[in-house]
Structures are given as C-alpha cells and as structure tokens.
C-alpha cells in the first residue's frame, strides 16, 4: 500500500515537473459570488504588489460559480483561485494538483473561524420533532457541511432527515431564525455573534477551520513560481496590510494542508434545499 502511495506521489511530482513551465501571465479566478468591480477593488493592491515584485502579469478569469472554477483548474485555465475551505476540499477531491499557499485573516486577526448552529432564545428546540434549518449556500463551509456535522455530533440529528433551505447568506440564515421562519440556522460564528443583540443564541460550534485561501494550480505553475508567490505575499509588512486594504487588510498567514483535515471526509452536499 505504502509503495503504491509513494508511486502515486512520485508520478504526480514527475508530471508536475514535466507539465509545469514558467509563466509570466497568471490567470487568477476571484470569488464568483462578487461583482467584477468589487473583486478588482479587493485584489488589485495584491496583484499590483505581485506584479512589481515578481514581474508577473495578472489576468482576471471570472467564473460564474465554483463548479466553473473547478473545471478551470482541471483544464489549466486557472493558475490561482481565491477559495473558501469547502470549495477547496471539493476541488482537491477531484483535482489533486490544487494546493493552498496563504490563508487570509479575518477582522478578529485570526485566519481561522468556526461554524455554529444558532437559534432564537425563546424558541423551544424539541429534537423529537422535525425541525426547519436555514443554511447559507451549498458550497459554503458553514452551510450544509458543517451544520450537518454539528447537528450530528451535538444533537445526533441527521440534516437530511430535517427540513432545510439555502437562504444564500449567513445573515439571511440568521435573520430567518429571528423572524421565526426557521428554528435553527447554520452560519459563521463571527456573524452569528452580531445577531446575539437580536436574541440569537449559539447552541453548537465547530473546531477552528481555515479561512479563505489562495489556491495554486501546481500543474500550471512551477514550484519556484509558487514558492516565489508565497514568499512574496508572506513578506508583506503589517503596515502594508491596511494600506493595501481589500482581502489583505487583516493580514495573512501560511496555509497548511493539515488545517483542512477535519473537513477531509466523505460528504455529499445537496445543491438544493428540501423545503
């Protein structure tokens, strides 16, 4: 078994070395959920920095959804993408040449975050009855994936047996709980905390998960390039974080593939709710 694994790793390395060649133009895929002008605004300072530092030209490749980004990686159209943990794990499952290099910190200074399950204080949670759960998006880590894990771990409830709906944002999921339309909501902890002032209480929370990261395509970029890009980003001084603004405004840290271990499970995420 070990020999087989070593052979696969060796083969992948050889393939990487054979196919990867030095590129001067990097195809970058920003978040598909934001508008192009907003993406430019958020990424432009970092792109300009890389351009100056490494003499690389950054070409924006806009994809409508995560599926297109995954396809772009496989086709070699995308060299770098900005992805949350779940899209990365999904990509990694299909395309082993995707690797995180840096993770961006949030406003609380941490590059990691937790997902939570929350409810309105006054609402009764009767596990014996079928409940309604508000989720964010299918490919949101705190959506179906983590909510399902938390419900199973903390309350021994399987999400697929309950009623659930994608509300398309953390805020929508939480506000629907305040409205009384749903009993539970799965969301990012930092956002759920803001809704405590509206009577929302967190009833379960996950371990720390890695935040949004830059994922490189090791098949299209050389190791040297990847290393250069990673080093260049990590060498940005703290003073420049605020100056650059956008995604880097809170800083960044080196990404570790191990951080994704807790997500490295077999899962099937339904693309639509069941309500």
């Amino acid at each position: 078994m070990l020999i087989k694994i070593l052979f696969i790793v060796f083969s992948l390395s050889i393939t990487t070395l054979l196919f990867a060649k030095k590129k001067d133009v990097i195809n970058f895929a920003p978040l598909p959920t934001k508008s192009s002008s907003q993406n430019v605004k958020e990424f432009l300072p970092v792109n300009n920095y890389l351009k100056d530092k490494l003499s690389l030209d950054i070409n924006y490749v806009y994809k409508k959804n995560y599926r297109d980004i995954l396809d772009g990686f496989e086709k070699g159209d995308i060299d770098i993408a900005y992805l949350g943990p779940l899209p990365f794990i999904s990509l990694k499952k299909e395309y082993p040449f995707a690797e995180p290099i840096v993770t961006f910190k949030q406003s609380n200074g941490s590059a990691k975050y937790r997902c939570v399950v929350a409810k309105f204080i006054d609402d009764k949670f009767d596990k014996t009855k079928q409940i309604k759960v508000a989720l964010t998006q299918p490919l949101s880590t705190c959506g179906y994936l983590m909510t399902n894990i938390l419900l199973k771990d903390k309350f021994n409830i399987k999400l697929k047996d309950e009623k659930y709906k994608y509300t398309m944002s953390h805020t929508n999921a939480l506000i629907s709980v305040v409205k009384g339309e749903f009993l539970l909501a799965g969301a990012k902890k930092s956002i759920a905390k803001k809704f405590e002032s509206l009577g929302v209480e967190i009833i379960a929370q996950s371990e720390f998960l890695p935040g949004f990261s830059l994922i490189v395509n090791t098949k299209t970029l050389t190791k040297k390039q990847i290393h250069q890009i990673q080093n260049a980003l990590l060498s940005i001084s703290k003073e420049n974080y605020k100056k650059f603004g956008g995604i880097i405004s809170n800083g960044l840290e080196k990404a570790h593939i191990n951080d994704y271990d807790s997500l490295n499970i077999d899962f099937h995420i339904p693309q639509n709710g069941n309500m």
Binding site: Q38, F120, I121, D122, V178, K179, G180, L198, G199, V200
Partner: protein, 637 residues
C-alpha cells in the same frame, strides 16, 4: 458726407446688433422661464410625494401603537437588562418584520426604533447594527426624544440619507423612545416617474453633510458625483438608480453638457434650486436641480431631473423667426438708406455742379421765393463783402434791403400793397424797368438789370447783371445828386443817406468816426470885397486843398455856405485833431488868388457809437464857434 454716412451706417449697425442682442436675451429669458416653470412642477411633485409618504408613515405609526404588543414590549425594553433587551429586540423584529416588508413595497426603506435616550434600538434595514447613540448625530432623533414632537425632513443617517418621519412614542404617559420611517430617493424617484414627464431622476448629496453621519464603513456606499467633487451619490451596490444612470448614455451625455454650461458650478454652489435648459442638435432638454434642505436647514444636495422638452426648441425657432424677420427688415432699411444716400449724393453732385456753374457767372445770382433767401453765388458775397449766406443772414434777410432808392431804379418802396413780395413786384414790371442800384462793400454804387426765372414751384433764380457801365451816364447824374455842384464835395443829401454806413464801415475796422467841422473865416468879406465869383473860387480851392490832404475814404461834405464837414475814421480824438490842425496850417499858408491869405476855424469831435450822429455834429459846430469866438484860425476840441 462720408462722415455722416459712416455715422448713419454705424447707428444702423448698432441698432441691428442691439435688436439681435435683445431678441437673443429675450429668448434666453423665455427659455429660462420655461425651465423654471418645469422646476416648479418638480418642486410641487416632490412636496406632494413627501406629503403622501407622511400619510403612510402616520398611518403605520398609529397601526404600530394600536398593536398593544409593541408598546408593551417597548416599555419592558426601557427597563430591561442588556440580555433581556436582546431578546426583546428580536421579538420586536419578529412582530414587525412583515410590516416592514409591506413598507418596503411602498418604498419606505427604513424602519428604525430609537430608545428613550436616543440610541438605536432596532434598524429593520440593518437589524444587527444597534445600540449606537444618535442623540448628537441625528437632530430628528434628538427633537423627537427631548421635545416629544414629530420631526419631518431630509436627514443624513448612519446607513444612508433619506426623508425622515420621526414620531415620539409615548405610552401611558411614559416616553418609550421614537420610531422613524425613512423614504429612500428610489421611492420618490418611482413616483416622480409616474407623475412627471422626465426621462430620469437622480440625487446627489453634499459630501460634508453625508460623511459626518454615516458609519465609516458605509462611506464605501457613496461615490463621487460626476458633476462636482463636493457631491456624492449612492453607489450601484445600494442604488438601482445609480446603476441605471451609470450605463445610461442619454443621462451621461446630458451630465457632460451640464458641466459645460456657463456658471454651472456657481449655481450649484449657491445651494438653491435652479434649472438648466440645453439645446443640442435640435433637441431640447431641461435639467432641474431641486435643492434639498435637511432638518438642520443646511443644504444637503440636489434632486436632479433630466427631461427632453421640445418646447424650448420650438421657442428658439420662434425667436429665430423674429431674428430672420428683423434681419430682412434691417436689410430693407439698409437698402433704403443706401438708395436715399445715393440719391442725396447725386443731388449734391448736381447741386455742386450747378453751384460751380453759378459761381463762375459774372453776375450776381440768387435763389429765393421772394421771402426766404436760399442761395447766392460767389459774386454776391464778393460784392457785399460777406463770407457766406449765414454771415449775410446775420444782418439781413433779403438782398432787396440793398436796393437804393433812386429815381428810375427799383426799390422796396415800389412794391405795391397788392403784391406779395419784391420778386412779384419786379415780375409785374417790364424787363426794361427791372433795374436796381446797390452799393458794394466799398460803398460804390452799381447798377444791375434783373432777370427772373422760375426754378421750381416756389423758387426763382434771379440774375443781377452789372450794367454800371451802360448806366454810367445815369450814375453820373446820380453822383450829381449827392455832390455839391460848385465844389464837387458831397452834399447833405449824401450825408443823410450814407452816414450810418460810414459809421458802420469804421466800426468794422475797429475805428471810430471823427468829425471835423470847418468854416472859412471872414468869407462874407471876400464876397463883399471881391465878388461872388472870387468867393466861389475860394470855396473850390479850399475843397481842393482839403481833398488833396485827406484819405480817399474820408468824406468831405459841404454843409452849407462856407461850412464843411469831414467824416473820417480815427481811433482817438488826437488823430482827428492832427488832421484838422494840418489842414488849418495848409490853408493858412496857402496864397489865394486875388484874395491872398485866408484862414479857417475848426471844431472837432470823436463820435461815440452809442450816441446820435446829429448830436455829434452839433457838438462839432459848437466847438467851431468856440474857435471863432476865441480869435479864429484855431482848432477847438
């Protein structure tokens, strides 16, 4: 002529330009009036819309209060702990979120509860943002919670600006806070579009007013206005209007045109409503800027409405018609003036030729209707010694004044009562009798035969041909009439007819008139002793002595018997005296035939212009007798 022509052309051009300017200014004023009326309609519509929202807000406010659950919850909230407040806030949201959804369909974007001490209790449009104090940043919240009265008006906010309707909530005499309904511009714009004939509407805010109040993070919702850097507008992520306008070529083109209009920035900075009419490529547009004042009475921005209004193009076309008509009229006037000027020029040329022709005539030629003297040729002025007609008319009215009354010569005395004037009178005479005598500037008489020709309906050209030579004999006789037959000195008749002219002649030379009165001493003895024939010879000799020793222009007049008068020009009495003394000595020294020595006595006077000449003669006579009485052969003055 050229100067006059230039002045006329300049005046006509000036009038034409002034007329053009006047029409253009009138057009601008009329166009601006139309734009201002359009602005007025926007104002009225805006007020009506805001009033409508007031009704909606009032109704909703009363509905909320009628729902007993809400006031009770707010009362609990006032006295609850922080944790309890969180739950109560959530409950309030749960009770009213459907109401808020309904309000949103009516374009009321904000429903915001405030605590009794002016903090944000619950923003339905941003529920997780609460607890911040508004008492200092929001005038409406302060008034509603300190003065407990309803506040209505435009105001900036922590999330976005809008028209606020803030109601204090007092429940069972307990002040629980306030509730605010905010209408976004999108709501107003939708209604504008329903009732106003404009293409698009947008709003710009004064940056200073907005940025002071909005959450720092929310500043990114605002972008600089294309119109002026001091103004901003909501960005496309929160404003459908901005999104639409950003991609609207019509509006963007008009924005560019507005920026190019003169005084635009000046008008904008005046912070009062204004309207700009624009005509481009035969399309008319009116852009109105409705000034928005906030609750603090500060200028908060402008509602800008863009519309296509062909009325202003039609108005311009009407004024262009006026300009065209004005141009045609001006052209007609130019042509008319040109024709008139050419005619005048031609007439003047002809007239000039005629003048030249008449001027070279050897006879005097005049143009008159018998009353008014209209023209005279050069010969006329040379003869009478005047520079021009005006100069002549200063002293005379008619050439007829110069006709000397002599027998066989026509004079004004010959004009009959039934005759209108002297010309008519002459015309009634036969040609041979049309003869006048006139004296020239040197007081020399000439005779003229007159021919009269009709010039036009009123005027006659009258020709005075000098026939002095042919009339010599007659004139000689005439001379006899004015001269003493014995001595050939002038007689008293001459004096009577000419003394005024002589005085005037002296005056013209800035001199006075001197009078020397002389009488031959003991002349009676000469007659008695030697007979009258010798006496006559003595008289002739003395006249010859005197005539030979006075100037040509000095006149010797035989006054009577052995008395003579000399009329001469003199600047002072001394000159007169010298002349008299000189004559006295000559006569004294002269040896008269048969008689021998004789003397004369003299009396002299310098005539003053303002006195009577007869008085001066009398004085000279008195001086003469002084000489006689004091021993004779003397000059007394």
């Amino acid at each position: 002529m050229n100067k006059k022509l230039s002045i006329i052309i300049f005046i006509v051009i000036l009038i034409t330009i002034s007329l053009y300017k006047y029409i253009k200014i009138s057009e601008e004023v009329a166009t601006q009036n139309l734009a201002d009326k359009t602005l007025e309609s926007v104002k009225v519509a805006n007020n009506a819309i805001l009033d409508t929202y007031m009704v909606v807000a009032q109704k909703d406010f009363f509905d909320i209060l009628k729902n007993g659950e809400v006031p009770k919850l707010l009362k609990k909230f006032k006295y609850a702990t922080n944790e309890e407040q969180n739950l109560l806030r959530g409950k309030l949201y749960r009770i009213l979120y459907k109401e808020y959804d309904l309000l949103k369909t009516l374009n009321i974007r904000g429903l915001h509860f405030h605590t009794h001490d002016g903090k944000s209790l619950l923003r339905f449009h941003a529920p997780s943002k609460n607890g911040d104090s508004l008492i200092n940043s929001r005038t409406s919240v302060r008034i509603a919670n300190t003065e407990f009265r309803v506040v209505v008006g435009f105001e900036g906010g922590r999330t976005y600006p809008g028209n606020r309707y803030v109601f204090p909530i007092i429940y069972k005499n307990d002040h629980l806070g306030s509730v605010e309904f905010s209408v976004s511009f999108e709501g107003i714009e939708k209604k504008f579009k329903n009732i106003l004939p404009f293409y698009a509407h947008m709003i710009i805010y004064e940056k200073d007013i907005i940025y002071k109040k909005v959450f720092k993070k929310n500043r990114e919702f605002f972008i600089d206005s294309d119109l002026d850097k001091n103004y901003c507008t909501e960005n496309y992520s929160i404003s459908r209007i901005t999104k639409n306008i950003q991609n609207d070529t019509f509006v963007n083109k008009l924005i560019s045109s507005i920026k190019e209009t003169p005084d635009f920035i000046k008008k904008l900075n005046k912070k009062e409503s204004f309207a700009i009419p624009i005509i481009e490529n035969d399309n008319g547009y009116i852009i109105t800027f409705l000034a928005i004042k906030n609750i603090d009475k500060q200028n908060a921005g402008y509602i800008i409405s863009f519309g296509k209004f062909q009325d202003i193009v039609e108005l311009r076309n009407e004024y262009n018609h006026f300009i065209f008509i004005g141009f045609i009229v001006a052209l007609f006037i130019y042509l008319l003036i040109a024709v008139v000027l050419i005619q005048i020029q031609n007439i003047k040329k002809e007239s000039s030729k005629l003048h030249k022709f008449i001027d070279i005539q050897d006879s005097i030629v005049i143009l008159t209707d018998g009353h008014e003297f209209k023209f005279a040729n050069k010969k006329f002025f040379d003869f009478f010694g005047y520079e021009d007609l005006d100069d002549f008319l200063l002293e005379h009215h008619c050439i007829c004044e110069h006709f000397i009354k002599i027998d066989d010569f026509f004079s004004l005395d010959d004009v009959q009562d039934k005759e209108d004037n002297w010309v008519e009178s002459l015309l009634n005479l036969s040609g041979r009798k049309r003869i006048v005598s006139m004296q020239n500037k040197d007081l020399i008489n000439s005779a003229f035969s007159i021919t009269i020709n009709k010039y036009d309906e009123e005027n006659y050209i009258i020709n005075f041909s000098d026939i002095s030579d042919t009339m010599h004999e007659k004139l000689h006789l005439q001379k006899q009439l004015v001269k003493d037959q014995l001595t050939k000195a002038y007689n008293r008749n001459y004096f009577d007819n000419n003394i005024d002219k002589l005085i005037k002649l002296h005056n013209n030379k800035n001199e006075k008139t001197g009078i020397i009165f002389l009488d031959i001493d003991h002349f009676k003895d000469v007659n008695d002793t030697y007979g009258h024939q010798v006496g006559d010879e003595v008289l002739k000799t003395i006249v010859n002595i005197v005539k030979s020793n006075i100037r040509d222009e000095d006149k010797l007049i035989r006054w009577g018997g052995e008395e003579f008068i000399i009329i001469l020009s003199a600047s002072k009495i001394d000159n007169v005296y010298k002349n008299a003394e000189h004559l006295r000595l000559l006569i004294e020294a002269y040896n008269f035939e048969k008689v021998g020595k004789l003397t004369c006595s003299f009396g002299i006077v310098l005539h003053q212009n303002d006195s009577d000449i007869n008085e001066s003669i009398k004085k000279a006579d008195e001086k003469l007798y002084e000489s006689k009485n004091s021993g004779r052969n003397k000059v007394s003055l």
